[in-house]
């Protein structure tokens, strides 16, 4: 029997939702019948709108999907202007103020406090400037991710940007692929650093070489170092990765190599395979990772070959996974923060945006800076950061001297650059703890109070408010996930602690070792953990390697929660507030839905 969501989708879904959305916007939020709200809120997601949490009736989160995180010249300014004009509500964040944009772990942008009546005007402005919220959420092709500096990165094996653009144009608004059993997350990466994080996506294309006499086409590597001249470069295909539902999976190798010109065919084939075979009776079992569990990689490949593509698939090529550095916890380029060379001789400059949140005024100022020193283009990474591209050598010093870079630094503390956090109880219906502001407080405290051992300049701490894993907690050095505990007899916000996760050639999910650490004792726990790491690490050992050689019980002892001078003002049950930072935060004090204007 199909689920409620499947029934709602069977009635109205995909592009046609827009007309209904605009009609409700015209008639006002209250025109949505009470008994149809669940259905319409579910459908609105397809157009990038999530109704905010209990107590914030009538306000929406709007997600703008920016393929591969690319914001062309002028687009960041548009985002800033929209945030400034529309992303304001009855609650004020004590750290970030009244209007801000969130850069997400999937290279998208989220705005909050959006009113339904403003949606048509926002869509008009976005679309006039080449931006869209289409399929940013919902059961279909989500924002396609990858190495954000595709086409420019000097470390690139192949330029994935034309491939991503083609996929975006082919599958956004495509009726054959608009109603899938569940979300469909695709990563296409052309660089050898692993920055597309393909392993945690439903479908991943990763750079790989194949002997030229066995393939059609003539793609050649854009790398400058020598490769076997008989090789052409394309992509190996992996399927069924994802972090959610307490059941993380790494994408499985299905032994397929595809040239760039056929990525769309294979991606469409796999999307259709998922559409036709995914579980529509149980949304918790619907993601393709569970289908791959059931079938195995071989059957996925066989079914793709026999039923969904009309050409002979190649076996996998020679990948470059051994070179991956992104989010590995060791070596260079664990992220894309800092100054890096482009292949055209210019530079890209990655700026750390702590927990991915930037006030609207800063967004506009950064847009100015990007225009003054670069091409005006910026790009978004999967570590919630912003990259200013196309900066010539002779403009670098000027850019680095800009005051805004004091706050969004290209050379931040490891604890600042290593911080990732989801939305949390401020707006999210699922979260059970405060997250973004808490991670800001954590990072600032750790920066002031904790020294990493010599040679360790990366330390990733990811904070997720629940088991949905939007902050990708399982792939961090320290993974934090929302829980509750009791302290001095009172229930307080707490976090489960996992250790030793990361990506790379041999990706590893964090091992959860300690449960329910009171939130105010987490910084002390991390400090004690790092002290033990410093005292007991072997020569040059990375934190991840240190974790790998210890048993869970030993690691649990290393965590050692402790009160410090860190002060946490959000220990109370923030999920039971209408807005955690309101003077009167009780649900009874929640504002009415915004009046139509």
């Amino acid at each position: 029997m199909p689920t409620d969501v499947e029934n709602w989708k069977s009635e109205v879904y995909g592009s046609e939702i827009r007309d209904h959305l605009f009609e409700f916007a015209e008639r006002g939020f209250d025109s949505i019948p009470d008994d149809e709200r669940d259905a319409w809120f579910e459908r609105f997601k397809w157009w990038g709108l999530y109704h905010q949490r209990n107590g914030q009736e009538g306000y929406f989160m709007m997600r703008i999907g920016t393929p591969n995180g690319v914001l062309e010249p002028g687009q960041l300014r548009v985002v800033g202007e929209i945030a400034d004009e529309y992303a304001r509500g009855p609650g004020t964040n004590p750290i970030f103020g009244d209007a801000y944009a969130d850069f997400t772990t999937r290279q998208s942008i989220q705005l909050h406090w959006i009113e339904l009546s403003d949606v048509p005007a926002i869509f008009e402005k976005l679309e006039a400037n080449g931006l869209s919220t289409q399929q940013a959420c919902g059961d279909s092709w989500r924002n396609i991710v990858g190495n954000p500096v595709a086409g420019k990165d000097a470390q690139e094996v192949i330029d994935a940007w034309p491939v991503i653009r083609e996929l975006n144009e082919t599958f956004k608004g495509n009726d054959d692929h608009s109603n899938l059993p569940r979300k469909w997350k695709v990563s296409v990466t052309g660089s050898a650093d692993g920055s597309g994080q393909g392993d945690i996506n439903d479908l991943a294309f990763e750079p790989a070489y194949k002997e030229v006499d066995s393939v059609e086409g003539s793609s050649t590597s854009s790398r400058t170092e020598s490769v076997d001249s008989d090789d052409v470069v394309g992509f190996n295909v992996r399927v069924g990765g994802g972090l959610s539902r307490n059941e993380p999976r790494l994408a499985r190798d299905i032994d397929v190599w595809v040239p760039p010109e056929r990525v769309s065919d294979v991606a469409g084939g796999l999307s259709a395979l998922f559409r036709d075979n995914g579980d529509r009776e149980d949304r918790y079992n619907a993601r393709i990772k569970f289908l791959v569990d059931e079938w195995g990689a071989d059957e996925v490949r066989e079914t793709l070959q026999e039923e969904y593509v009309d050409f002979e698939l190649h076996t996998a090529g020679r990948d470059v996974r051994e070179e991956y550095t992104y989010n590995t916890g060791a070596g260079e380029r664990n992220d894309l923060v800092g100054v890096h060379p482009q292949k055209d001789g210019a530079n890209f400059v990655g700026l750390n945006v702590l927990v991915g949140r930037m006030g609207a005024e800063d967004v506009l100022e950064l847009a100015d800076v990007a225009e003054e020193y670069g091409s005006g283009e910026v790009r978004l990474s999967q570590r919630q950061n912003v990259i200013v591209t196309d900066v010539p050598d002779d403009e670098l010093d000027g850019l680095l001297d800009e005051p805004i870079l004091e706050h969004y630094s290209p050379s931040p503390s490891p604890f600042m650059r290593g911080s990732v956090a989801c939305t949390g109880t401020e707006f999210c219906s699922l979260s059970i703890v405060e997250t973004k502001n808490r991670q800001v407080r954590y990072a600032r405290w750790l920066k002031e109070n904790v020294e990493l051992p010599d040679g360790v300049d990366q330390f990733h701490v990811h904070l997720s408010g629940c088991t949905a894993s939007c902050a990708q907690p399982q792939i961090a050095d320290v993974s934090l996930r929302g829980m509750k505990t009791r302290k001095d007899g009172e229930p307080v916000e707490a976090l489960d602690v996992g250790l030793g996760g990361g990506l790379g050639a041999e990706p590893q999910f964090a091992r959860w070792v300690t449960q329910r650490v009171p939130a105010d004792e987490v910084p002390g726990a991390i400090a004690n953990l790092i002290d033990t790491f410093a005292a007991e690490r072997e020569d040059g050992e990375s934190f991840r390697a240190f974790v790998a050689r210890h048993a869970d019980g030993e690691l649990d002892a290393f965590v050692d929660p402790e009160e410090t001078d860190y002060d946490d003002p959000m220990m109370h049950n923030t999920k039971r507030t209408w807005y955690p930072y309101a003077e009167d935060d009780s649900l009874d004090a929640a504002p009415n839905a915004p009046a139509d204007d």
């Binding site: 029997m1 199909p2 689920t3 409620d4 969501v5 029934n7 949490r53 209990n54 539902r245 307490n246 009776e281 149980d282 949304r283 109880t425 999210c428 219906s429 699922l430 979260s431 059970i432 629940c466 088991t467 949905a468 929302g482 829980m483 509750k484 505990t485 009791r486 229930p491 489960d496 996992g498 091992r511 959860w512 070792v513 300690t514 449960q515 329910r516 869970d552 019980g553 649990d556 999920k575």
Partner: protein, 103 residues
């Protein structure tokens, strides 16, 4: 013991913090836990009551969750029992509290 949770825990979880106890013939261990009541969204045949005590606090047991399927009648019986017992406990606590005020 491994600390990864089996039950999803989010804002829709019925109780994300309860005081629990695992008891066997040879052991008894206090542990916090999670309790959830759920059923399939469409055409559910039973109510499922889920209980998971924290794995790190129960060394004698492998990490696990207990799940009990209840018919609607059984779920109502359980609900009635919980409610009537809760009334009795609440009354007792109120009485104790009032007694305490006498001092």
């Amino acid at each position: 013991m491994m600390a990864d949770r089996l039950l999803r825990v989010n804002a829709y979880t019925t109780l994300d913090l309860v005081d629990g106890r695992a008891r066997g013939h040879e052991f008894e261990t206090d542990a916090p836990g999670v309790v959830n009541v759920t059923a399939p969204r469409e055409d559910p045949e039973h109510v499922t009551l889920q209980v998971e005590l924290d794995g790190t606090d129960t060394d004698e047991l492998a990490p696990h969750a207990d799940e009990i399927d209840l018919s609607p009648a059984q779920a109502r019986t359980l609900g009635d029992a919980l409610e009537s017992t809760a009334d009795r406990v609440a009354a007792s606590r109120a009485e104790s509290s009032a007694d305490g005020d006498d001092g």
